[in-house]
Amino acid sequence: MTATTMDGALETESATATRPAPARIPTSRIIAVELRKSFDTRSGFWMLASVGILAVLATAATILFAPDDAITYNSFGAAIGIPMAIVLPMIAILSVTSEWSQRTGLTSFTLVPHRGRVIRAKLAVALAVGVVSMLLAFGIGALGNLLGAAIVGVDPVWDIALGDFAGLIFFQIINMLIGFMLGVLFRNSAGAIVGYFVYSFVLGTITEVLSATQDWFERVQPWVDFNYAQGMLTEASSMTGENWAQLGVTGLFWLVVPLAIGLWAVFRSEVK
C-alpha cells in the first residue's frame, strides 16, 4: 500500500509538470455555445422561426381584416405584439429549463463549472434574440403597412413615435425576463410555461376585474400590479416620472426579487 502511494505521488508530479493548465473558458465562447444550443434542436429552431412566421401571419391578418382607416403602423405593431408576448418568453423559459428537463445540465455544468456564467450567457442570448426578433417584427410590420396602404389605396400612416419603439421593445424584453425568471424559479419546462400564462394572463384578468369593482384597488393598482405598470410601456412617450417609478417598484417585487430567489436556488440545487 505504501509503495503504491509513493508511486502515485511521483506520477502525479510528472503528469502535472508535462501539462500546463489550460486557459479559462472565455465568456464569449460560452455565449456562442448557448446561442448555438438555442437553434440546434427542432423545437428550438421552430420556436425561433415562429417569431418570423407569426409576425408575417399577424401582418397578413391585419391587412385582411382591419378596416381601411385602421391600416396604420400602430395596428400592425399591436397585432404583431401579441404573438411576440407569447413566443419570446417561451424561448427564454426553454433556454433555462431544458438544462433540467432534458438533463443537459449534467454536461453543461460540468464543462463550465460556474452556473452563474452559463445562466448569464443564456440571459445575454435571450436578450439578443428578443431585440433582434422585435426589430425583425417591426420590419415585417412596416412592409405590411406599406403593402396594406397600397392595397387600400391610402397613404401609409406611421403613427408610432420613436420613443414608443424603444418602449415596445422594452415591453417585450420584460416579458422575456419574466419568462427567464420563471425558468430559473421552476427549472421545469411545463411548470414555467404554465406559470407564465398564469402570471401574464390570469393575474392580469383578475387585477382588471378587481380594479373595475374595487375602488381601493384601482387607487393602488399602478403601485402593485406589474402587468398594469408594464402595459404603460406600450405608450412609453407619454409615461411620467411617476409611471417609471411605478414600473420600477412593481418590477422589483414581481421580477427582481423572484429572479434573485430563483438564481439562489439554481446555484445551490443539485443537478441530477
Partner: protein, 302 residues
C-alpha cells in the same frame, strides 16, 4: 489524481454519503464498487460540483473542480449517458462540447471513430439511440479533451459483451498512459477484471479499500464437504471464524490449518483452496443483501 476527504452528504435525516475518503491515483484504474443506492453516484456528483456536499471536500488534479479553468480538458466526466437533449444528434452533442472546450472541429470526427459510431449513426437524433450507443457517445464526450482524469458512472451499462470488452481495453490503455480512471459499478465481476484499486461502499460508508491484490489476499480459505454440520462444529471447537457461502464454507485461516481441523474431525473434503476473492464477494453480497428482497443468507454460524 482524485482526492476525496471526509465527504458527507445528508438529505434531511438520511445520510447518503457518510464520511467518505479515498484517492484515485494516476496510472491506475480505481473501481468504485457498491450496490445500487450505496452513494456512488452522489459521491461522483459531489466531486464534479453538481451536488453540494454537506461537509468534507474533493479535489481533482490538486484543485477543487470549480477551480479548473477548462474542466473538459482535464477531467472527462460521464455520469448518465441518457442525460442528453433527445432532439440533438450525436454529432451535435459532441460539437457543442468541443466548442465549449475550444477544440477544433476535427476532434469530433476523430472521437466518433474512436467510439465506433458511424457517420450515419452520428447524424441521428439521440432519442433514437440505444443505451449502448448513448454510452459510447457519453464516453466520446468524456474523452474529447484528452483529459488526464476520467470519472465514469456505470459506463458498462447497456453495452453488449463486445462493447464491454472494448471499453475495458480503452480504459486500460488510458490508465497505462498515466491517466487516473475512476469508474463505478454495482457488479463485482465487471470491476474485478479491470480495476487495480478498489473502493467498496455500502449505505454511504466505505467498507473496504485497497489494491485489488490486497483485498483478494485477505480472503482466507474456501472449503467444500458433504458433511457441513460436522466440519462447522469442528471449526467452532478450533475457534476459527467462518461463514457459509452458497455451497461452501469460507474460513479465516490458511488452507493447511483448515485441512488439519478437517482431518482431526474425520470429515472428507471435496475441495480445499485459497479463497481468492470469495471474501470480497461475500462482503459484497452482505452489503447487497440489505437492499435486496430475497435475503435468505445466514450470518456467521454458531
Amino acid at each position: 489524481m482524485i482526492t476525496v476527504e471526509s465527504l458527507t452528504k445528508k438529505y434531511g435525516a438520511f445520510t447518503a454519503v457518510d464520511d467518505v475518503s479515498f484517492a484515485a491515483r494516476p496510472g491506475r484504474v480505481t473501481g468504485f464498487l457498491g450496490p445500487n443506492g450505496a452513494g456512488k453516484s452522489t459521491t461522483m456528483r459531489i466531486v464534479v460540483g453538481l451536488t453540494p456536499a454537506t461537509s468534507g471536500h474533493a479535489e481533482v488534479s490538486g484543485r477543487r473542480y470549480a477551480d479548473l479553468p477548462n474542466p473538459g480538458l482535464e477531467v472527462g466526466v460521464l455520469l448518465d449517458a441518457s442525460a442528453q437533449h433527445a432532439g440533438r444528434t450525436g454529432r451535435e452533442i459532441l460539437t457543442i462540447a468541443a466548442q465549449t472546450m475550444g477544440l477544433p472541429r476535427g476532434r469530433v470526427d476523430e472521437m466518433l471513430e474512436r467510439v465506433s459510431l458511424t457517420p450515419s449513426e452520428a447524424g441521428r437524433r439521440v432519442r433514437n439511440y440505444s443505451l449502448g450507443m448513448r454510452q459510447r457517445l457519453g464516453i466520446a464526450t468524456a474523452l474529447l479533451g484528452e483529459p488526464e482524469v476520467l470519472i465514469l458512472d456505470e459506463p458498462a451499462n447497456g453495452l453488449d459483451p463486445a462493447g464491454i470488452r472494448w471499453m475495458r481495453d480503452l480504459l486500460r490503455t488510458y490508465a497505462d498512459q498515466g491517466a487516473t480512471v475512476l469508474l463505478s459499478s454495482h457488479l463485482l465481476h465487471e470491476i474485478e477484471v479491470i480495476a487495480d484499486d478498489l473502493v467498496v461502499i455500502g449505505q454511504g460508508r466505505i467498507v473496504a479499500q485497497g489494491t485489488k491484490a490486497e483485498l483478494l489476499a485477505a480472503a482466507g480459505t474456501l472449503v467444500r464437504t458433504r458433511d457441513v454440520p460436522t466440519l462447522a462444529r469442528a471449526l467452532v471447537v478450533a475457534d476459527l471464524e467462518f461463514s457459509h457461502l452458497t455451497d461452501a464454507i469460507r474460513v479465516d485461516a490458511d488452507p493447511d490449518v483448515v485441512g488439519r481441523v478437517a482431518l482431526n474431525a474425520g470429515v472428507a473434503l471435496t475441495e480445499l483452496r485459497a479463497a481468492d476473492g470469495a471474501g470480497l464477494e461475500e462482503m459484497f453480497l452482505e452489503l447487497t443483501a440489505d437492499t435486496q428482497r430475497d435475503q435468505n443468507r445466514e450470518g456467521v454460524a454458531a
